[in-house]
Amino acid sequence: MNDKEKRHIFDNPRNVKRAIHIIYAVCALAFAAEFFIDRYVDHPWEVLFGFHAVYGFTACVILVLAAKEMRKLLRRKEDYYDE
């Protein structure tokens, strides 16, 4: 990368950190909103406090970790199908 090039927003590690902090803040806000918003529920499991937040988080962690294990089983070289 040459020095003359303009510095872009995420070249600065502080901005990356800021973006991550924004995500934390938004999550905290979305979670806290449940104290104030009386949401109706379609299903008994939804009554649990923060159900969607917890479900979304665990779903993604399970998804990624399971996919990682799957990859060990499924990944082959790029020319696997080529004769």
């Binding site: 949401r39 109706y40 479900y55 988080f57 799957m70 082959r76």
Partner: protein, 562 residues
């Protein structure tokens, strides 16, 4: 009353495209979907167009709310695809793209199963050129596999139709329902084109191999025609609920570990189709509305995502996550459009997925399928993870790959802008889309609870990505292929044929050698007796023969006296 079949506009238009060049062709290409849309607009509700062929009356035009919605959708998709590919100087892609869109229109307005079959096969043989147009050996091989599977789907459809017509005596394409062999075969044919689990691999195999512009056409039509056909023929078929749930689940695991970003989109496409299939399976008015409106939104935002990845491929020549990154610096507008597409597919509030996907999920709960609902919710978080975050992150952000390029041509940007605008419009103001749905809509997407729960789901999915990335648990993008059901016909079948040959070739050779030896032996034996030197071919002297005759006669005489 106007009853010009919508596909005719496209087929005649394709002929004009073939005959023109340059700016005139561009004008013709743009005019086709516009003229088509106007034609559709003037077609009266419930119009019917029929033509008699031999003993059958074929219904080439059947207009009702369901076919009309898909009709408008396909015109819109064709227009976006045309704008996106205006810079091309490739007659074959322009012509076949137009024919392909026309075929899709022919299929959704088909009122009988024979017409449906004809357009079903036309879809296959016209779209394959969009893959071949990449002009690489890989693309050629993928195109051939695509063609075989698509044509197979057509052949199965034909077999099912023939049996069904024999059973019922009617060729009408209305509710079919799973009952018996004929309808089962039709169901299977629809399932192949709709990428049912284990029948899905043609999609992720071929779409990433097509040209950047070709994929935009491909992603809009084939699978959505199948969704339409299922919604027409098999609404409320319970097995579809479970097929749909499986379709939403398994591709997201593949999408997380897939390196080719257009293949990631292929897997996420199966995931989105799963929501539609599940909705059709549930079969209530709400669920069908959800499935159909999600098909509408999916065509637009999936096209947008494929267009943004197409722009990356077009400019950089690369599409693997492991080779990309940092492109937001040189393609900021494309990045923005990609993020809009990502937000739409992830169903963020104010983006189009939000107003359609949830209908299917609410319907799943209302009809007493809580486990399916949990699966769909899991898939909703997962789709945000792999399509909403992974696609923009690895292409445009992540580590800087050092690639410096520029924005794609203006026509590509306009096409992406158009799709982005529609996605935001449908998400923020869904009432226009709702008014086009097959059943009256009694559903309010923007309740406080829905906005809150969906936001929680998505933000915490993002949080999970952040944490996994920061802790280094997130799997890196790696080159390679992940084996999927295509393994059966790309790895197993060729080897099985080889083994078969290895085992049976010697056996076959032996049998044939033995047979040949026997025949030769026989010929030699005959030759020995009847050949020029054979006993039967000797030429003894006439005198000798007379002696022998005398001996014989004497013998007779002797015997006579005994």
């Amino acid at each position: 009353m106007n009853s010009v079949a919508p596909f005719l506009v496209f087929y005649l238009g394709a002929a004009l495209v073939a005959l023109t060049r340059g700016r005139v062709r561009a004008a013709v290409l743009l005019a086709i979907p516009l003229v088509g849309a106007f034609n559709l607009f003037t077609i009266a509700d419930a119009a019917i167009g029929t033509v008699a062929v031999f003993d059958y009356t074929l219904t080439y035009l059947r207009v009702d709310r369901l076919s009309l919605l898909f009709g408008y959708l396909f015109h819109l998709a064709a227009f976006i695809g045309v704008v996106y590919s205006l810079h091309l100087r490739d007659t074959s892609q322009h012509v076949t793209g137009t024919l392909y869109a026309g075929g899709a229109l022919g299929a959704v307005f088909a009122g009988d199963l024979i017409t449906l079959f004809v357009f079903w096969e036309l879809l296959a043989v016209t779209s394959v050129f969009l893959i071949l147009a990449r002009r690489t050996e890989r693309a050629r091989a993928a195109a051939m596999r695509y063609l075989v599977i698509q044509v197979l789907s057509g052949v199965i459809l034909l077999a099912g139709v023939l049996i069904r017509v024999h059973e019922t005596g009617s060729i009408a394409f209305d509710f079919i329902g799973l009952d018996g062999l004929g309808s089962g075969l039709i169901f299977l044919a629809f399932g192949i084109k709709c990428a049912f689990p284990l029948l899905h691999n043609w999609l992720t195999d071929s779409y990433p191999e097509a040209t950047p512009t070709g994929t935009v056409f491909l992603c809009a039509f084939t699978t959505k025609v199948a969704v339409y056909a299922l919604a027409r023929g098999f609404p409320g078929t319970e097995i579809l609920i479970y097929i749909g749930a499986v379709m939403t689940m398994f591709p997201i695991f593949y999408a997380v570990i897939e390196n080719d970003l257009r293949r990631v989109l292929g897997y996420s496409m199966i995931n989105q189709l799963g929501f539609m299939v599940a909705g059709i399976g549930i079969g209530t008015e709400l669920a069908i509305n959800g499935a159909v409106s999600h098909a509408f939104n999916d065509v637009i935002f999936k096209a947008l995502l494929f267009m943004s990845m197409g722009a990356v491929l077009f400019r950089t020549g690369r599409i693997n996550g492991s080779e990309l990154g940092g492109l937001y610096k040189s393609m900021p507008i494309t990045t923005g459009f990609c993020i809009v597409g990502a937000a739409s597919i992830s169903a963020f509030p104010l983006f189009s997925g939000f107003v359609s996907k949830s209908m299917v999920m609410v319907a799943a709960l209302e009809e007493g399928h809580p486990v399916v609902w949990l699966a769909l919710l899991f898939a909703s978080a997962g789709v945000f993870h792999h399509a909403g975050i992974k696609i923009p992150f690895f292409a445009f952000f992540a580590h800087d790959s050092g690639i410096r390029t520029r924005e794609p041509p203006l026509n590509m940007l306009i096409a992406m802008g158009l799709a982005a605008a529609i996605s935001v419009f449908n998400g923020s103001y869904p009432w226009v889309l709702y008014s086009l749905l097959p059943f009256p809509v009694d559903y309010a997407p923007y309740t406080v609870a829905h906005v809150l729960t969906q936001s929680q789901l998505l933000f915490f999915a993002a949080l999970a990505f952040c944490m996994l990335k920061l802790t280094g648990l997130y799997p890196p993008e790696l080159a390679g292929v992940n084996i999927d059901s295509e393994w059966s016909y790309r790895w197993l079948l060729p080897r099985a044929v080889k083994v078969f040959k290895a085992v049976f070739a010697p056996l076959d050779l032996g049998v044939r050698r033995a047979a040949l030896g026997f025949v030769n032996h026989f010929i030699a034996a005959v030759f020995r007796r009847a050949g020029p030197d054979g006993v039967l071919a000797r030429s003894p002297l006439a005198g000798g023969m007379v002696v022998w005759v005398l001996v014989l006669l004497a013998l007779y005489l002797l015997l006579n006296f005994l």
